[in-house]
């Protein structure tokens, strides 16, 4: 009886593993395919691109790249600007959202009942509406051509906050905080030294999300940054696509897109280690 069950389970496991691999391979294909076409397109000239799709690379990669770098657009500047804006956004957003979530999670105070639903409500406001009002605000403050309006508002990121809050609910026992208090740890230190490390997977997740969305953001930066050397990559890409006839070259556009995806892949790979590894929660349970 027992042996039978074991055998049945063994076959089931094997079959499930095969299914899992097949599904995963299909998914992997769908995920990586786009990068392959991007690469192929980056190797093709403008005229070849007009001729339509192909799976085989052409020979213009270096030429497209040289044209791009020798063109008037400051691509390296753009890369650095994007890195500054996205990293700063990710760090600030994650740190302060976690702090806010911690405030709601770990403390009892009178305004809490009011503030929590209030923050959730903000998530429900479509960002498109406030965007134009936001631009007016920025120009009234004289913050055009500055990174501040792109970075600072991410401190109040309701979606990140909400995730942190939910994550704490499932993984951060209040008893742990009590224990830290008994050990004489100050509140601020408890947050930085005990809570933050525990939140590592959640922090990595939200840091990636914030970084990527900031990296790919076009709308707001396009309305705020006007000096070429301050512009982020998506604006430069848009500008490349708006080039006049003599310069218009989709080959360059694709090279630039490929170029702008590289750093974000690297950042993702670094941060994803933390998600994939996670933390051994058992070890800190006291």
């Amino acid at each position: 009886m027992n042996e039978n069950l074991g055998l049945k389970k063994g076959i089931g496991l094997h079959a499930r593993r095969v299914i899992a691999y097949v599904v995963l391979i299909i998914i992997t294909f769908f995920c990586l395919f786009w990068f392959y076409i991007l690469f192929i397109n980056a190797t093709r000239s403008n005229g070849e691109l007009q001729a339509g799709f192909t799976l085989l690379p052409s020979t213009h990669l270096l030429e497209n790249w040289t044209n791009l770098v020798n063109g008037t657009l400051p691509v390296w500047n753009g890369l650095i600007n994007s890195l500054i804006v996205s990293s700063a956004s990710a760090v600030l957003s994650v740190y302060f959202s976690t702090m806010t979530a911690y405030a709601i999670h770990a403390y009892e105070f009178r305004l809490k009942k009011f503030i929590y639903p209030f923050i959730l409500m903000v998530m429900m406001i479509p960002t498109q509406v406030t965007a134009l009002g936001f631009i007016n605000l920025v120009s009234d403050m004289g913050l055009e051509d500055s990174f501040i309006p792109l970075i600072v508002p991410t401190i109040a990121a309701p979606v990140t906050f909400f995730y942190m809050k939910q994550y704490m609910e499932s993984t951060l026992p209040l008893s742990l905080i009590e224990a830290a208090r008994i050990d004489g740890s100050g509140e601020f230190r408890t947050f930085n030294a005990i809570v933050l490390p525990l939140m590592k997977p959640a922090i990595a997740v939200q840091a990636i999300f914030t970084f990527v969305s900031s990296w790919n953001n076009y709308f707001t930066p396009a309305l705020i940054l006007h000096e070429d050397r301050k512009k982020t990559l998506p604006i430069l890409i848009a500008q490349l696509r708006a080039a006049d006839w003599l310069k218009f070259d989709m080959g360059q556009v694709y090279v630039m897109i490929a170029f702008s995806i590289f750093p974000v892949i690297i950042v993702y790979l670094i941060l994803s280690k933390h998600i994939v590894q996670g933390v051994a929660l058992g070890s800190v349970k006291g």
Partner: protein
Amino acid sequence: MKKKIVSAILCTAMAVTMMAGCGNNTSTNAAADKGAAAEDGAAADTAAEETPAADESADASSDEGSVLNIYCWNEEFKSRITDHYPDYTEVDATTGTIGDVTVKWNITPNDDNAYQNNLDATLLKQADAAADDKIDIFLVEADYALKYVDTEYTMAVSDLGITDDDLANQYQYTKDIVTDSNGVLKGVSWQGCPGVMFYSREAAKEILGTDDPAEVQTYVDTWDKFNQTAALAYAAGYQMTSSVNDTYRVYSNNVTSKWVEDGKINIDDNIMQWVEDSKELVDAGETGTHELWSDDWSKGFYPEGKVFCYFGPAWLVNFSMAADTEGSIGNQGGWGATEGPQGFFWGGTWICAAAGTDNASLVKDIMLQMTTNEDIMKEIVVDDDDFVNNKPVMEAMAEDTSYSSQILGGQNPLGIYCAGVENLDLSNLSAYDQGCNEEFQNAMKNYFEGSTDLDGALDLFYKAVVEKYPELTY
């Protein structure tokens, strides 16, 4: 996305290579030398001193603002100024100097309407802005020129001291586009973008038995004949045009009434004619409904695409139809050019002066130098292959028998361009053209593809326009 590309491209104002290989032309040697000299920074100063107007601008800069702000959406005008304006010195990608004046380029791309949003916001604050932050020059395109021109935010060129005589050599249509509702001219352009019909010579031989432009013209000189020829093309295995959107511009440039009259949306007869003709062509399989610039649209740049003709100005055939790529029709010199059923234009950039500018004389000088100075005009023709907005210069080129276009199989098409541009009447523009043209084509696509009937498509059009312009009725 496609729309983004399309708008990006529409706005791109349009360098023209009429003159591939024109640099060898003897008649322009002097200009070519000058152009070469201007590329050398030190020599540019000498060249500047030779030009009387440059002195004016130097004077002007002493008692005027120290910063010249120019708003635009790409780098075309910047490169024209850098290469051709007498004493412009480039400092970095978005700054330069003219004498003591610092020139600041405020470049916002067109995607998501960002350029206009930015320009609108800044213009509205123009009165309160510090002198050095005020917009001095902004650039516009034909489709939305009137949105700016027909307001007090744009200065009349006569207020800058530019006279009609100064502009006498410019093509009338380029003035129509930037003339406000009171008949006041408020902008200038250095470009002309007259369009013609480009047909595949090989296809013409197969379908019509000839590829001679004059003979081909007899098959397409009216829309009726054009549509009859479409049936012949279809029988020979060709589509007449790649998309209905190819001919839209030709019909819509030849309207006799405006999109909006007395606050009411109005559809001109010629536009409805486009709908009727296009629906027949689509139903017969003689054309498609692709967006301009899509892969499907551009397939006809190659012989295997089996498309008989495209409509466009010189920049289209010279720069955008894969002439530099092996195997394309352009590469084999396989296009011919002829007038087609009606004249039209496509593209162009206009220079406007913002009211409240603190650099009026410099703005005036830039306008005059860049759009009326014949030496500079010739330079632009030679260096940038632009079709310039100057009749004598272009007519001289048209009569030059030594010029021929390889892409067009050795034809000199300038006479055809010049003829088309003379007859163009663009007095029926409105400030709503951009939205109306765009939404009309979008809505009609549904009708052509059979997703709805004509009334349904028209309703959709009205709805979309009122969303964009809430003040309108229908």
